[in-house]
C-alpha cells in the first residue's frame, strides 16, 4: 500500500510536471499516441486490478475481466497481439493523473462517464463507448435487518474516496434528509476491509463492483444488496482529450466488439465469416466491417482487419460479458441494460460506414 500511495503522489506530481515531458505535442493528422504504442510494442492499460469480473489477477497470475478484455481487444487491434499489454493497477484517486500524464495509454477501469470528467475544463478525458451500464448500490449484512436508506440513519457508511459514489451518497442522503457518517478510504481493499471489520454498517459502490467483491467475502451469503439504485453509472474506458485520433481508434475498436455481436460474429466463427466475406462480393456490410473492402482501418490509423483481430482475441461484446460477469462467471449478473439495443438494451454501435 505504501507503494500504491507513493505512486499516487508520483502520478499527481507527474501530472503537475506532465507538461515538462511532452512539450511540442501539437497533434497533426497522425496520432502521436498510436505511434508511441506501436514503437514501444505494447499497450499500457490502467485497470483496477482487484475487482472480480472486471479486472483481477486470476489463479495463473494473468489478468482477467471485462475491463481487461477491452485492453486486450485494443492491443490485438493495434499491435496484432492481445498479450502485448502492460497492466497498471490504479486506485480511483490516481487514475486520472496517470492518464493525463501519459503513464497509461488507456484507462479501462470501471470509470463512470460524467460531464466534469469529459469536459475540457474539467478532467479533460475522452470517453469511449460505455462497456457496462451500472448503478450505485448499497451492500449490508443480512443480519443488520436494514431494508432501505432510512435504515442507515446516523450510521457510518464505508466509501472509496475520489469516486462518483462518494458524491451520489452525499446527494441521496441530503435529498432524504438522512444524517450519516461517510468513512472514506483510499483503496477499495481498505474500504471493504473496514466494512468486513464491522466498522460500517454498509458499504456503497457500483452494484457490479459490490457483487464482484462479495464473491471474495468469507461468507458471501451473509451480505445483501439493498434494492435501491442510487445513480446511473455508465462504466466507460477513457483516453485523454489530447489525442483525438487515438481516442477515435479506441472508440471504434469497442464499437467493433458490439457490432460483432449484433452481426453474429463470434470468436469461434470469425475466420469462417472472414472467408465468407472474401468469397462473396455481395456482402458489402460484412466486407467493410471485416476490412476486406474500404479503408476504415486506415482512416483510424489501424490495420484494415482490426475488428477481426479484436474479436479473435477476446470474442464479441456478448461473449466478453458472459465470460466475465454473466452466467458463466461467479458474479452471475443479468445482462439488464447491457443487452443489445435489438433486445431492449443500451448496447448500440453506430454503423460501420
Amino acid at each position: 500500500m505504501l507503494w500504491n500511495r507513493t505512486r499516487s503522489l508520483g502520478a499527481s506530481l507527474l501530472a503537475a510536471g506532465l507538461l515538462a515531458g511532452c512539450a511540442g505535442d501539437d497533434g497533426g493528422v497522425q496520432s502521436q499516441k498510436l505511434s508511441t504504442i506501436t514503437g514501444r510494442g505494447k499497450l499500457v492499460c490502467g485497470v483496477e486490478g482487484k475487482l472480480p469480473g472486471f479486472s483481477f489477477v486470476g489463479p495463473d497470475g494473468k489478468y482477467l475481466g471485462l475491463d481487461v478484455d477491452v485492453c486486450k481487444a485494443v492491443a490485438a487491434a493495434v499491435l496484432g497481439d492481445p498479450a502485448k499489454v502492460e497492466y497498471r493497477d490504479l486506485n480511483s484517486s490516481e487514475r486520472f493523473a496517470a492518464l493525463a500524464s501519459g503513464e497509461v495509454d488507456l484507462l479501462s477501469r470501471n470509470t463512470t462517464m460524467t460531464l466534469s470528467r469529459d469536459a475540457a475544463g474539467g478532467n479533460g478525458l475522452s470517453f469511449a463507448p460505455t462497456t457496462f451500464y451500472d448503478g450505485q448500490g448499497v451492500l449490508v449484512p443480512v443480519a443488520s435487518g436494514i431494508k432501505d436508506l432510512k435504515g442507515l440513519a446516523g450510521k457510518p457508511i464505508c466509501v472509496e474516496s475520489g469516486t462518483t459514489t462518494e458524491l451520489n451518497l452525499a446527494d441521496r442522503m441530503r435529498e432524504q434528509n438522512i444524517p450519516y457518517t461517510p468513512l472514506k478510504f483510499q483503496t477499495s481493499d481498505q474500504t471493504f476491509a473496514a466494512y468486513l471489520g464491522d466498522r460500517c454498517v454498509a458499504v456503497t459502490s457500483d452494484r457490479s463492483q459490490l457483487a464482484g467483491k462479495r464473491t471474495s467475502f468469507p461468507k458471501p451469503d451473509a451480505h445483501t444488496l439493498l434494492p435501491v439504485v442510487m445513480s446511473k453509472e455508465p462504466l466507460t474506458p477513457a483516453t485523454t482529450n489530447g489525442d483525438p485520433a487515438w481516442a477515435d481508434a479506441v472508440r471504434w475498436i469497442v464499437y467493433g466488439l458490439m457490432q460483432a455481436e449484433e452481426s453474429g460474429i463470434t470468436q469461434a466463427n470469425v475466420d469462417a465469416k472472414l472467408a465468407e466475406a472474401k468469397a462473396n462480393t455481395n456482402q458489402a456490410d460484412l466486407r467493410r466491417f471485416l476490412g476486406v473492402e474500404g479503408d476504415f482501418g486506415k482512416q483510424l490509423g489501424l490495420p484494415p482487419d482490426f475488428v477481426v483481430k479484436a474479436v479473435k482475441a477476446v470474442g464479441n461484446y456478448g461473449e466478453i460479458f458472459d465470460r466475465n460477469v454473466g452466467p458463466a462467471s461467479a458474479l452471475k449478473l443479468d445482462r439488464g441494460l447491457n443487452r443489445q439495443w435489438k433486445d431492449g438494451g443500451l448496447i448500440y454501435s453506430p454503423p460501420f460506414r
Binding site: 499527481s12 501530472a15 474516496s161 475520489g162 468513512l183 476491509a193 464491522d198 466498522r199
Partner: protein, 345 residues
C-alpha cells in the same frame, strides 16, 4: 583603508598613488567578483524557473487547464466524517480544505505532545538502574523504528481498533464507553446538562467523541515518533558529562531528581535541534491518515482533485499548507533552541 602614514604631507594625490599601482581589472576585484558570480547564478536559477513555469503554463494552456482558482468557491458536494469547524456538502471547496487542515493540525498538535511525553519517558528509561525497564525501552525503540509507519497505522486500525466490541458489547465504564466506532466520554451536552454516553438506534452518542480513525492515527504517530524522540533524548542525556551524575549523587540526589534537575536541563541544548526534525517528520507523516479513513487535509485534497480535475492547483495548495505548517513548527523550535542555548557558558 590602505595603511596611509598619518604624517604624509600631501594626502589627496598620494592616496591614489599608494594604492596597488594600477587599479586591478574588475574580474579580479574582490568587491566585484562575488557580486558577478551571485548575479550569474541567480540569473541561471531565474531562467530555469522561468523555463519550467513557461513550459507548465504553455502545456496547461494547450490542455485547456490553465491555472484557475474559481473552483475553490464551488460547492464541494461531499461530506466529511468528522470536522471541528462546521461543514456540510453545500459549502465550497475551500471550506472543505480548511476543515481538512484543521483536522490535520488537530492530529499533529496532539501527536506532538503525546510523542514528546512518550519519547522523553522512554529516553529516560534507557538510563534507568532497572535492567528490565532499560531493555524494554531498547526493544520498543528497535521494533518500532524499523517498521514502516504505514504498516503500523494499518495494524493499529484494522488489527487493534477494529476488533473492539460494538454496540451493547462495548467496553463500558462510568461516563466512558470504548466501542468499535470510537471513544465516548460524558460531558456537558445540549442545554448544558451533564450527559453520559447513550446507545441510540445501535449507535453510541456522547458530548465528547473521539473516532477510532483519529485514535488509530494518533496511536500510530505517537508510538512511531516516540521511538525516534526517545533516541534523541537518549543522545542528549548521554551528552551530559558523567561528572554531573557523580556530583549530583554525591549531593544525595535521587536518580529521578538528578535527571529532572541536573541532567535534562543541560541535555536540552542537544535535544532540541534533533526534536525539531522529529516534529517536522511527524507533521508530514500525518498525511498517511487517509490509509485509516481519517479525513485530514490530504484526504480532502485527494477527493477535491478528483472532483475538479485541478491537479496542479490542488497539489500547490497541499505543498503550501504542509510547507507552512512545517516552517511554523521549525520557527517555534528554533526560538526554543535560542532559549536553551543562552544558558551555555
Amino acid at each position: 583603508m590602505a595603511p596611509v602614514p598619518p604624517a604624509d604631507p600631501s594626502p589627496s594625490p598620494l592616496s591614489a598613488a599608494k594604492l596597488p599601482a594600477p587599479k586591478p581589472p574588475w574580474w579580479r576585484d574582490r568587491r566585484v567578483v562575488p557580486w558577478v558570480v551571485q548575479a550569474v547564478v541567480g540569473l541561471l536559477v531565474l531562467l530555469l524557473i522561468a523555463f519550467l513555469l513557461g513550459n507548465l503554463i504553455r502545456n496547461l494552456t494547450a490542455a485547456g487547464l490553465l491555472l484557475s482558482w474559481r473552483w475553490l468557491q464551488q460547492p464541494a458536494g461531499f461530506d466529511i466524517s468528522e470536522s471541528v469547524i462546521p461543514f456540510n456538502a453545500q459549502l465550497p471547496y475551500w471550506r472543505a480544505l480548511a476543515a481538512g487542515l484543521v483536522n490535520t493540525i488537530r492530529a499533529v498538535l496532539v501527536g506532538l505532545v503525546g510523542a514528546t511525553l512518550l519519547g522523553t519517558l522512554v529516553g529516560m528509561a534507557s538510563f534507568s538502574h532497572n535492567g528490565l525497564l532499560r531493555r524494554l525501552a531498547r526493544v520498543y525503540v528497535e521494533v518500532v523504528r524499523n517498521i514502516p509507519l504505514l504498516l503500523q497505522l494499518v495494524f493499529w486500525y484494522f488489527v487493534v481498533f477494529l476488533t473492539l466490541p460494538n454496540g451493547l458489547a462495548a467496553i463500558q465504564l462510568p461516563g466512558v464507553v470504548l466501542a468499535k466506532s470510537g471513544l465516548y466520554v460524558a460531558g456537558l451536552g445540549e442545554g448544558l446538562r451533564w450527559m453520559g454516553p447513550t446507545l441510540v438506534n445501535g449507535v453510541w452518542q456522547a458530548p465528547l467523541r473521539l473516532s477510532v480513525e483519529f485514535g488509530a492515527l494518533l496511536t500510530g504517530l505517537i508510538v512511531y515518533s516516540g521511538a525516534f524522540i526517545a533516541e534523541v533524548v537518549r543522545g542528549g542525556i548521554a551528552a551530559v558529562p558523567k561528572g554531573q551524575w557523580e556530583a549530583a549523587s554525591s549531593l544525595g540526589l535521587s536518580w529521578f531528581a538528578t535527571l529532572r534537575r541536573i541532567v535534562l536541563p543541560q541535555s536540552l541544548r542537544v535535544i532540541v535541534p534533533g526534536l525539531n526534525t522529529q516534529y517536522i517528520s511527524l507533521a508530514k507523516n500525518s498525511s498517511l491518515a487517509v490509509a485509516v479513513g481519517y479525513t485530514d487535509l490530504y484526504s480532502v485534497a485527494e477527493t477535491t482533485l478528483n472532483q475538479t480535475g485541478r491537479a496542479v492547483e490542488v497539489i500547490l495548495v497541499l505543498l503550501a499548507a504542509y510547507l507552512t505548517l512545517d516552517l511554523l513548527i521549525s520557527a517555534l523550535m528554533n526560538g526554543l533552541n535560542h532559549l536553551v542555548q543562552i544558558r551555555e557558558r
